[in-house]
Symmetry: C2
Subunit: 148 residues, 2 copies
DNA sequence: CTAGGTAGTTGGTAGTACGGACTAAAATAG
DNA sequence: CTATTTTAGTCCGTACTACCAACTACCTAG
């Protein structure tokens, strides 16, 4: 059923179409996040930092790993967010070299607000689906994300 | 069925979970595109430019609109891509102010290659789904994208 | 033909991101 | 227990992204 031949073409076409849909959805979603972030003078990366630190406290390097960025990039990123009172640098208790970063009360408040905004902004899109479809879509996405 | 009450909580939870899945999927997809672009010294934006101009020829401003960027941003973007031989600036035949941008043969070749790369890179994710699931996912995404 | 609008570029500024050099503090070797 | 190596974070220099405001060239209406 996966051998070559004319019966296979639909599979290739399907693959193309799915990739297109995924990429397009991602660009739409990112544009949305970008816009919401910009409303609060936050870049996409800063948005992610807030989201990540919402329920965690990480060392600079760990944060860099989460984001897939170089540690030297983190310095400026955290600097700016700290100056704005969104994050706090805390001495790591067990490692004198390390610096923990945690979200500040103000940052947490902003993160909560952004999270609500994201949901509100995506809802015009998600609510075109019935509840059953939403559930189905969520499960399909999750199984893609968590299985590989 | 959408009135307030304890029976509603699952709907809210479902909404949260779907938004999370969408955002996560988008970040994974973007990270992938970013990585593929970086392998050819292309930013995400340059990648998009190549994708957009694959089958179109647009004025600078139109391109800026497609990307949601300021026209002044386009100048540098197109400059660099042109210098690398990926794009070409062409005088617009009917409007002396306007500049058309089109993909060059080299750019088209790179775009084709990237498109194939994207599909290959996403396949570990998409192929965790059965073909029926892929089809279902694609249809759900498309109906979300095209209906609103 | 002139007044006003549009297309694109330029210059200035801020943010993002990287690599390499550097300091301080572990961790490991001997 | 010192000597060396590794690790964590910062700092510097560079390139790119993106915006705004100012400007030039050109088009369009009155």
């Amino acid at each position: 059923m996966t051998a070559s031949g004319s019966a296979d073409q639909p599979a290739v076409v399907e693959q193309h179409a799915l990739v297109d849909a995924l990429v397009q959805t991602s660009f739409v979603t990112m544009a949305l996040l970008n816009r919401l972030g910009a409303e609060h003078d936050l870049s996409l990366t800063q948005l992610r930092v807030l989201a990540i630190l919402r329920d965690r406290r990480l060392k600079m390097t760990e944060l860099a790993d989460y984001l897939g960025l170089d540690k030297s990039t983190m310095t400026g990123l955290v600097d700016r967010a700290e100056k704005r009172g969104l994050l706090e640098r805390v001495r790591n208790p067990t490692d004198g070299r390390a610096v923990d970063v945690r979200i500040s009360p103000g940052g947490a408040k902003l993160a909560d607000r952004l999270y609500a905004d994201v949901e509100r902004s995506l809802s015009p899109m998600t609510s075109t689906l019935t509840r059953a479809e939403q559930r189905r879509l969520r499960m399909l996405l999750e199984s893609m994300l968590h299985r590989p």
